[in-house]
Symmetry: C2
Subunit: 268 residues, 2 copies
């Protein structure tokens, strides 16, 4: 009930695309020093990344936290499962997916992340990353060394609390996805996906009703536990019913209320 609005989207890999399959392991160029020292306190995403209401001197400390920014080009991995865990990453610009793999090669997309969201918290427990994080468009992330984060957290309780909230939010988000996968049917899942994207774009100042998908139908399907054909059919159906307009990756929501109704009204 409470976290449906929080359900969000990740997409699986497109197996036929060579760009996806030979990504260098983020030999990401580090920006020149002046560039990377762009302060958190000046960042227009700070409301998403950082706790509010810090004292001046605390803000100054926080600017030390991000020691480097990193570019990740479309198709490159930010990290892979089993990489040693050293830092979490705040997305400054761009769009990512995270995915876990089964031995037999099947892949499950566990999330899609956009600017202001944080990646890598799954790696804390085993000191290794436990999923792959892949850029779906050219992106830039702030690298936050985890040991530093824990140190500053002990000094700045607002930072500590904020970090705990971020991890907790991730757990709640995952519960939303579990609900989506466990009890919703195909069209409900897609409706929840679209509404969640819309909401997140809105929070970033973009149009609630018009946006471009960064992921393929296959990736959407992997996230939603559906085959790409099912996703495609559901899009077509929504369009027939006047709920949305689809042109390739471009989506226009024409009847948000209608989409919501799909979620709240038990099917016939």
């Amino acid at each position: 009930m409470q976290q449906l609005g929080a359900v969000h989207v990740d997409a699986d890999q497109s197996p036929g695309n060579s760009t996806w399959h030979k990504p260098m392991h983020a030999k990401v160029e580090q920006l020149s020093v002046p560039a990377l020292r762009e302060a958190c306190s000046q960042c227009n995403l700070r409301e998403l990344c950082l706790p509010m209401g810090l004292a001046e001197d605390e803000l100054d400390q926080l600017d030390q936290l991000v020691d480097v920014r990193k570019r990740v080009l479309r198709g490159q991995h930010l990290y892979r499962g089993n990489d040693p865990f050293e830092a979490i990453f705040a997305i400054k610009t761009g769009f990512f997916k995270t995915a876990v793999l089964l031995e037999d090669g099947r892949e499950q997309v566990t999330g899609f992340q956009m600017a202001g969201e944080v990646l890598g918290m799954d790696g804390i427990c085993s000191e290794k990353h436990t999923c792959n994080a892949i850029a779906l468009e050219d992106s830039e992330v702030c690298v936050i060394p985890f040991a530093d984060l824990e140190n500053y957290s002990r000094a700045i309780s607002a930072l500590q609390h904020h970090f705990h909230k971020m991890m907790s939010r991730e757990i709640v988000r995952d519960h939303g996805v579990m609900m989506l996968l466990g009890i919703m049917r195909a069209e409900e899942r897609l409706a929840a996906f679209l509404l969640n994207l819309s909401q997140r774009f809105t929070a970033r100042g973009y149009s609630p009703t018009e946006f471009n998908l960064r992921m393929t139908r296959n990736e959407i399907g992997s996230y939603l536990g559906l085959k790409l054909e099912t996703v495609s059919r559901a899009f077509s159906r929504f369009q027939e019913e006047g709920l949305i307009t689809v042109h390739q990756k471009h989506i226009q929501i024409r009847d948000a209320a209608g989409l919501k109704k799909l979620l709240t009204e038990r099917r016939v």
Copy 2:
């Protein structure tokens, strides 16, 4: 790949059982003071709950952390969605499920928790619990006021780090469930479920091959995204194939390797 072993189990509510439907909101009797002050440092679950390698004085501090223990009888809620979040709970004895609800009444079990595991971390982000936690047998939990936990964490870095690991583990576990729900078929899901239970019982010193389920078929189904009939049929099928023996809630695993094979070998 990495967290299949971590996939674990939760069950949904049995809609027809009055015990389930009128649980008092944990008017849990608080144990008498001597009882509740049983120290963490003496608890035989401390390896699961607490960081290892603390200094003597740190251990003494930790014993302050749990201010109360709480009994929760079978069928009672430990907390409900929307309850104010004040503490997390370490299970001392017993067995719980957590579940989220959709407006239309559909329920998704998000996890089953046993002794040594921690409940309630979903509530941090919104200061409200976001799911229901219900005892599946008479249980006892240690109440850890969250504000205190954050305070001690700032003083004891091992505690801080341990807590972060616990939250991270929860995220990784959820990813495992998402994989289960997203890409496995019914029998794979049930096999993963049984193996995960077996592993967790083993870690607690119980038999790896023989145990009693605490949850109903309906609850297993809700956790696994299946209907209870499908769960029942899968159990029967496993039994026919000699993988397990089932008598009601009593499970005996006869061929663990066979169950694992179900997970790793792509179906025909």
